[in-house]
Symmetry: D2
Subunit: 399 residues, 4 copies
């Protein structure tokens, strides 16, 4: 195996990647460049992250702001497909991985690195997502996954490892939950959640208020949709990321966007996760409402077909593939029609579209009601029914 | 066209079918037998229905209790497919049509009728559902759809028609909403709902309490699932229909099961409908929770595929077709594994599965956590990732 | 119903549409403009067609050459989806209908017509295809379908009808088969074909030589594919229509492209049809061969999914719909990669791709063979297998 | 890793598995039991196989006749789904793997083995198929895959290995093609086939005559189908395996069943394979012909949907999974209707269904032709078309 000279590590400032920096240097005898992706995980997580990286032994630290790009180029396209993983999960962690991987590769090219590294564990999805993106974008770069190599297997051992090297780390020895946050969502695993018969305690949730403690008054929020994208909130035109932030703020108060599921990981096992996606849940409700108005029956069924496919693609980290381009091609054609306004009611954990309109609406009060019109002659129904059921009739007659 | 001697009418006791009885007699010079399907629409609607039918001119009136059979043979099988129409509609009206049509045909055979009639309008789905079932079950019987033939087009004209014939009718001249009820749900159309920009007023809803007025305390309800069917509620073994009734009672108090959508009718236009399905919503949440535990990734994706197909099949009234048998064949194979218990939390309009367990669960705390085990060696992940992403790698290398 | 002043008739010069001209004038008291679409049905059919139209009573006759446009804008896009109806039918009649309907509407706009008419019978697919396109392109124009209105039901009665009006017609009183031809194919129905137990006689086939009489020597033909389109034949760059004509000529000699099927018509019944698509069959073989090289496993499966959907869409005449745009969006993304050359062997009815290459090929002799390489370490397979089969292992262990 | 005491090896008598016997004994210090599956690979391959196994050092050799069971329980069920992998491959190798794996596990249980071994290479599909089946059937047994462990990488090195141990072996040092045979098919890889631009030479093919040398006279063969299974050939009732053997004999003469494709392996790379499936090709043609008669449009589309899913499942070796049960549940429901007779014409490489009939046929000459009948009133078509195209009309009117 060829020697590694310089590796770019996806660095978070947490305990794991803090230990990975010295571990890489010691085990690969290489320079380590830290790369921090700002995907909206919050100022707290990013505070002092460069200093931490250098303290851990990184030669450089690049913090790259990916927030607008992530929402505009990864989340919004995904929303156009209408996809939801296994009926419930809004793919918050999954959607962030490709853009992080891509930016990491760009830093690697910039600094002339010959390897990439990440802090994902060996039982999760993220290792597959990162490395599948690396395979597509930089098949020539070596990938180092310390969690699959080293023998450090607990927080205590990681803290010891750092202490032995005099590397400062504010992390505590105990941490109940494993969390991952970005502008779209936060996920929670571990602790009592490992038993699906155990209801999540209130301390699991960090982004939203509990429905029980949410206001007793409902709140209405208006989303403006253009070409399948949310472009304004309550009448205020905003960038994609700003729309998301604003909706997060509004919806979190009402306890909107919590889900608690057992899901199938790509690596063949099941895991239990709790997710909070407040603004995203509101966006999904609004986009679905516009679809109700503008998609005909066959189109809607087809959208449900490709949404299912896309959900698995995003979950599996297959972003940089021809399949992604193909399904987005299908979704974009429909998104052309998805213009309008939706009022979503937020109340005690729910986000319900209560008013919807679109210039491309196929709904017509005139046609749907029982009066007469030029478009639909009730006598047509008989012919329709006869032909629609003709094969059943023939089969029955032949018996 | 051959003369009709005796027609069996699907009779509800409402204004429309009360007028259809004399209209059929006058226009077809035939005997009219009334058939009333008890699908759980409620005692109020059935009270005195036989007398009303005779008063309207029917020669006989058969009231057939289909409640248990409907839940056991139509609703439960449909639930096993996991289907939801256009993402939201739980198919309450659709699932009732085939069993009503089948029982109506049986009455027709019993009384020696040569025709069938119904009170569905010419712009709706139900005419298609009824007549498609008739085509499959009794292609030899003529079908009469008065709404597609007569020129009575308002409640006033129907009331006049009855008054002229001295047929008593308690119906009022004005009725805002068109509703359809059975044990599973009630639907609402018309009135202000005809404008999708108009939020439904509280008077629309009749089966559930509003979330705002629901109790401030959440309630937990436990469902026992065997082979994909709810067999007990809070530990009490009950028949399918009894389970549904009990869950309706519990969930309605908490405002659970309201949906408000614009949907694609089979006949090519859109309509706006509000639906209340309290108990059904709880059942769906529980069944989905069991699926989370017992279906592997590929199975779950496949179930989502056939669920989509089945949703359209049920909506379209294609029950008595080989396609139905085929999809149920697929669903039943999975249902064999769907055993367990789920605790659903009801609160202010929401039904959320908060505890779930199954003897067939593929979830294992031992395997999912980060410790070591015999089943999963973290080093396996590298090989998996390499092959999983191999085509991406090759494509990238070839560029 | 509003009076018709001017109608544009899709006119073929055959017996049916020759009778429709006077019938429209007499029954609608309107001017009739004949519109003839040249879709490659052959010089013989077009010869003297304008004169015939005028002789029948048309006020004008427009012959529009649609050959290049049909292949480039309707057939080639369809080929990019890889679709085949019910496993066998290459959609020859179906693909021609939308472009004819569109050109007919354009003539109607040009001459200020207020109605459209066609000669399709009331039991076939083509009436649905034409009128669905009319609905999408010209919902304001009335559609007249004489075959669903008149009482002329045999060739004799049509000939009598014309004779009574002194309209010359060279059609014979007996015609065994009903045929439809364009540049892509010819279809045959009727006669002995109405019994699926009856083998087609040799006189059915008109476009291809029988395999038995084809040359005893195979012929190789080379197709050059760019972006999913055939752009050259045997090294000669040609327009889409010219490619098709040349391949028709070459393949017909070898008896390539005959199929004989019972298919499901859109109107609910089955029919038996024989089709000849010589050049198209060669194109399909070549395009499939390129796909073998350039599409990865998941992409190929997805293409098979949307191909199935598109086959039904084209067959059903739903061309001018958002669904068409969406599926073509999916197909076009893949077509970007479909470049290369394929040698197809023609022999006694068969067209088999025997040599294939592509600059975007994912096939690599180096990777596929058993030797060592950098891309694939055989030890990776163990990890892949362990995770690929993990859910089976867990399920088995849990039993 | 726990010590292995006794391993059951899937033994073929070829060079690879002959070397694996001593290699296992030396490297695992264990007893080796040879297991030979008779899946119809031919008497030549089985001749003396027990003696060879013992000569190689196996303590015992079990030869198990799986021929009837393979056709009845693996091939026929697969045929009922109508599946074909990537449009062309009839899954001959894939279908044999699960039954071999299952019988191998049974032998392991019988002899009290604690491990299983096979001779599949580390780049192929078969290792995944075998080991996925092992995972489902015997997760407790260890799996040894010598090709992923040892350093023997050529025929020469294997021959040397055997020679050093005085183990007799008749294998030659050079072998151009890698082949796999069973009753259903034979596959060929390697040699000049590694270049997809290279046409297969005639020496590739071993099971069928070349079309060029096939008889100049076509032959007709009649298949009787019951419940989706071929039960008689030319009127002679035969067992599933006998049907296949007889059809192989008949079709091979006519050069039927050769395919030459580049396919996507499950392990992420492409390979080029040539396959001969003479009898199977005839069976597929006949079963498709029956489907043409008995499946309505929606059913046929659905069958194409699950066929695609099943093709990948079989190819990927996911036989012992709930997904298999589910899709077979769907397929079996349709197979109930698949009765009838089909005459297939064999000529110069082609197998074409030229006559077909079924008691469950939905085709009716009376309904399909242009005359009048009770089932279909041509005036019904107008209503059908209006509603079928209604959403297009509304969309167009709204613009």
């Amino acid at each position: 195996m060829s020697a590694i000279k310089k590796v770019v590590l996806a660095y978070s400032g947490g305990l794991d990647t803090s230990a990975i920096v010295p571990w890489l240097k010691e085990n690969y005898d290489c320079e380590v460049v830290a790369f921090v992706a700002d995907v909206g995980q919050g100022a707290e997580e990013l505070e002092g992250v460069e200093e931490k990286a250098i303290d851990s032994g990184a030669s450089e630290c690049y913090v790259v702001d990916l927030k607008e790009q992530m929402v505009a180029e990864y989340i919004y396209p995904t929303l156009k497909t209408g996809c939801v993983y296994e009926g419930t999960y809004l793919l918050g962690t999954s959607m962030a991985r490709p853009i992080i991987a891509k930016a990491q590769v760009e830093i690697a090219r910039k600094v002339g690195a010959d390897a990439l590294s990440h802090g994902c564990t060996g039982k999760g999805n993220d290792q597959v997502r990162f490395e599948s993106c690396f395979a597509a974008l930089a098949p020539d770069l070596k990938v180092i996954a310390p969690w699959r190599e080293w023998h450090l297997s607990s927080r205590e051992s990681l803290l010891d490892y750092l202490a032995q090297r005099d590397i400062p780390c504010a992390a505590s020895a105990t941490k109940i939950y494993s969390r991952d946050a970005n502008a779209w969502h936060i996920s929670h695993e571990g602790g009592e959640l490992e038993d699906p018969w155990c209801q999540p305690s209130e301390q699991v949730w960090t982004m939203t208020q509990s429905p029980e403690q949410a206001p007793n008054e409902a709140e209405l929020v208006t989303l403006t949709i253009q070409r399948g994208e949310v472009v304004a909130v309550n009448g205020e035109a905003l960038s994609p990321y700003q729309c998301l932030v604003k909706l997060n703020d509004i919806a979190a108060v009402h306890g909107v966007g919590r889900v608690d599921i057992v899901e199938n990981r790509l690596v063949g096992m099941k895991s239990r996760g709790c997710y909070e996606t407040p603004g995203g849940t509101v966006m999904m409700a609004a986009l679905q409402a516009i679809d109700e108005l503008v998609l005909d029956k066959a189109s809607r069924k087809w959208k449900d077909t490709f949404a299912l496919e896309f959900a698995h693609l995003v979950y599996d980290g297959r972003w940089f593939t021809p399949l992604k381009d193909s399904i987005l091609g299908a979704a974009n054609a429909f998104a052309e029609h998805a213009n309008g306004e939706v009022v979503v009611k937020l109340y005690k954990g729910q986000a319900i579209a209560v008013q919807k309109q679109s210039e491309n609406s196929l709904y017509s009060e005139d046609f749907a009601t029982f009066g007469e019109d030029d478009v639909y002659d009730q006598s047509h129904a008989e012919g329709f029914i006869r032909l629609f059921s003709l094969s059943s009739r023939i089969a029955a007659l032949k018996k």
